[in-house]
């Protein structure tokens, strides 16, 4: 089967909660049930399972199959943190196209709150555990404060410019009943929020929470009529640039041309972008690296473009992680489910008009100074 005949045939999200009311498996199961229903696929038809989670250990994709009572022909688990889910979906397409599986369930999520996250991040990987966490500076906010200050000092980017990302995403979240943070936010609210890690203030920092996302990948002719979403291209890159600790760029800049060339479309052909938003500065860097503006010019780009679902470049149209919360590895999938929701025309009050094509960008596996992993998918509604 050609990979052009395979795609996303279902999607689902669990409830999001500030405090976990169930285990991670509980959230994954809820998202999975919703996704299967949206695909019109029965549990017994699932024979591939792939999971992106930084909190599932000591469990994994295979023990998850045991827990869920699934017999599977293909199993995989991401190592790319918040960049993992786009890679998982791409791998799932290839697994189905090559005949290793017929319908793959892709899962990502966490059962956590802020206190759980603050503890877990100290052991996220060896370089954090051994050479960053002992400084006692807490979590990752300081690392991204370093990155943002560098961008501001090198390119003249201002907090007011970056604020558009948080403010416009909050406006999107107000159209999303599932978002945890829906209160109105003005640019002055953003600029004057409590200081966290100067230059980062409260609304620059994603809130860890509990929840899960799910995608079903299978033959596009299995999708409900008009509901299939094709992956036109996908890429990943890890540890670029080599040897820098607080870079202002990432792997997206290396694969951008290949990604868009293979898709046959460019940045201006996307009706929506879902970019990994642990911090607005990282959204800014992704937009630069993916070619929406030149490196260093995100400030004026943000001056010129509204990012709301009905704006110039609809970005993180459900509110993104900054307004919905970050469900661990699920933060890498929330952009995929939201893109699919939009491309299926199921965006409700926040539906992007004429949503035909979208870009999803992933970022993750923060280690000694920054996230090592970048990924992206270009997807298109099957008409």
């Amino acid at each position: 089967m050609s990979s052009k005949d395979v795609g996303i045939i279902g999607y689902g999200s669990s409830v999001y909660e500030k405090k976990a009311t169930r285990t991670e498996m509980g959230y994954l199961a809820e998202a999975a049930r919703v996704a299967l229903a949206s695909a019109g696929v029965k549990k017994g038809e699932i024979d591939g399972l792939v999971v992106s989670s930084t909190t599932l250990q000591p469990d994994n994709a295979v023990t998850l199959a045991e827990y869920f009572g699934l017999s599977i022909a293909w199993a995989s688990m991401s190592t790319a943190g918040g960049a993992g889910a786009p890679v998982n979906v791409l791998d799932a397409v290839h697994a189905v196209a090559s005949g290793r599986a017929s319908q793959v369930l892709c899962l990502a999520g966490a059962a956590q709150d802020g206190a759980f996250f603050r503890d877990r991040i100290t052991r996220f990987n060896s370089s954090i555990a051994d050479y960053l966490a002992p400084h006692g500076s807490g979590g990752t906010n300081g690392l991204f404060g370093i990155v943002q200050r560098k961008h501001m000092e090198k390119y003249g980017t201002t907090r007011r410019q970056l604020g558009r990302i948080a403010v416009d995403q909050r406006a999107n979240a107000q159209m999303n009943e599932a978002a945890l943070l829906r209160g109105a936010m003005t640019i002055d609210d953003y600029l004057n929020a409590i200081m966290i890690a100067d230059p980062l203030r409260l609304f620059d920092c994603v809130m860890p929470c509990s929840g899960a996302e799910a995608i079903v990948v299978g033959p596009l002719d299995r999708a409900p009529a008009g509901k299939g979403v094709r992956i036109l291209s996908g890429r990943e890159r890890h540890n670029h640039p080599v040897g820098e600790v607080s870079p202002l760029r990432g792997g997206w800049e290396l694969f951008r041309d290949g990604l868009f060339n293979e898709a046959g479309f460019g940045p201006n052909d996307m009706q929506l972008v879902q970019a990994y938003d642990d911090y607005p500065i990282m959204v800014a860097i992704q937009l630069e690296d993916l070619g929406f503006c030149a490196k260093g010019e995100i400030g004026s780009f943000l001056d010129r473009n509204r990012l709301t679902f009905d704006g110039d470049l609809p970005l993180n149209t459900g509110g993104g992680q900054l307004s919905c919360g970050q469900t661990g590895g699920g933060g890498g999938m929330i952009g995929i489910t939201e893109a699919v929701r939009q491309l299926r025309g199921e965006g409700g009050a926040r539906q992007v008009k004429n949503a035909t094509r979208g870009l999803v960008s992933g970022y993750g596996m923060v280690a000694y100074g920054h996230g090592l992993s970048a990924s992206a998918l270009v997807m298109e509604r099957v008409s």
Binding site: T122, H135, G136, I146, R149, E153, A197, P199, V245
Partner: protein, 145 residues
């Protein structure tokens, strides 16, 4: 992660790879780096292989302990309990004079005065005992710059 609540010992996981650095910091308040004997690369954090050329003959040497701030953040919230009273603390990307990049604390009584480009040096050996990893302070050299 701060000193272990139960043992009072450093929470830094000591391994065969990093113990020369940790022992030198604890004992003398100095910074030891590795240098690849094949390509000359100065390496931080400690490894068993040179990330540039994959050479496995890495020699420890005492670094100058001096460098300059590339960028930094003043971290106000979420600090380890033992450092909460010092908020905000300065976390900086530092380019060591030897060329390697580090992320480390810059301890100062005046965090608001810290700027990118500032020259920094290791804290005094006495002060070093408070910190699990090599930690810096604005350099006295700055006065003459």
């Amino acid at each position: 992660m701060t000193a272990n609540r139960h043992t009072g010992k450093s929470a830094v996981r000591e391994t065969e790879t990093n113990s020369p650095m940790l022992e030198a910091w604890r004992g003398q308040g100095v910074l030891m780096l590795q240098r690849c004997e094949a390509c000359g690369e100065a390496i931080f954090y400690p490894r068993s292989v040179c990330p540039k050329c994959w050479g496995d003959r890495l020699a420890w040497f005492r670094a100058s302990g001096k460098g300059s701030i590339v960028s930094f953040s003043r971290v106000h919230r979420g600090l380890a309990p033992k450092f909460e009273a010092e908020a905000p603390i300065v976390l900086a990307e530092i380019r060591l004079d030897e060329g390697a990049l580090m992320i480390a604390r810059v301890v100062t009584g005046d965090p608001a005065a810290v700027a990118s480009g500032d020259v920094v040096e290791l804290v005094s050996p006495d002060a070093a005992k408070r910190f699990d990893l090599p930690t810096f302070t604005p350099s006295r050299r700055k006065i003459f710059s």
